[in-house]
Amino acid sequence: MWFAVHGYLEGRPDWLLTVFVIPFLAVGIGLIVLFIRQLLLTAAIGPTRVEISDHPLTPGERYHLFLSQAGRLKFNVLEAALVCEEQATYRQGTNTRTETRQVYRQELLREEGFEIQPTVPFEKQCEFTVPSGAMHSFHAQHNQIQWRLVVHGRLAGWPDYQRAFPVIVRPGNGKGRHE
């Protein structure tokens, strides 16, 4: 890039070099913008705190959830959900791939159109029940079933953010069905 700029400064622009350099310059500027944006976003979104009344969770049992979100942000939507994901790892040639599939999602709370100030974090409580027929958390070398509490924020003028808190669901009594 230096040579391209130097050429312009000396009044002998190299157009071929300029055309070659422009894509790299665009990608570089884009990355810097993304980095700064992410940095500002991380700084703007304060800590997300999730508390549950008991852990590990048991299928069929009811729990209290407390959510606290600090920062200085304007939210379009803030939601918390209990999700279950299957994760499978497999070899394909010389590569190892991991696929994830969400198989359960229960929206626990949702708040729309509000603003939080640095001194007053957003706080909300709710109750939820783990479905009585839920599969328990499972962790083997290549296959996993993971339960998580996921907080998802849609912000005004900023990209969405998501924070996940893994929880353990213990095996139930072996009967019952998903609600």
């Binding site: 328990h136 499972f138 095996p171 009967k175």
Partner: protein, 132 residues
């Protein structure tokens, strides 16, 4: 000799068991001479199916061999009994499935062997659907 050379049957014809319950049953090798049979291995195990590579764990294992002095009479059914664990429960997921079975391997003279397995369900977790 084919897979069907091993017959496995659960007592009470039960196929769904609860955690902590006792699984009992028997296996037979119809049409096999006692002289041919060298050893029998019985495993109660779970394994995964689906998109990922297989995971497998043996819950209980027995080996009976003529060499070790075990009585191997293929005309008589062999019995197995085990207390089932709390997990993992049988699961029919989208990309992960957990299956339980009793697997019987019989080893014969001249390095021949046959394997038979019978599935059962541990727990009543319903099949998973893709979340919306």
């Amino acid at each position: 000799m084919s897979e069907s050379a091993v017959l496995i049957r659960f007592d009470g014809n039960g196929r769904i068991y609860r955690p902590g319950e006792t699984l009992t049953g028997q296996y037979r090798f119809p049409g096999v001479d006692a002289e041919q049979l060298e050893a029998v291995e019985v495993s109660v195990l779970w394994y995964t199916e689906g998109k990922g590579d297989e995971d497998l764990a043996v819950h209980q294992f027995w080996r009976f061999s003529a060499e070790a002095g075990g009585l191997l009479d293929p005309s008589q059914p062999g019995r197995f009994s085990t207390t089932l664990p709390n997990s993992p429960l049988s699961y029919e997921g989208q990309i992960v499935k957990v299956r339980w079975c009793v697997r019987v391997r019989a080893f014969f003279r001249r390095n021949k062997e046959v394997t038979g397995q019978q599935h059962f369900r541990l727990g009543g977790v319903p099949a998973a659907k893709a979340a919306p």
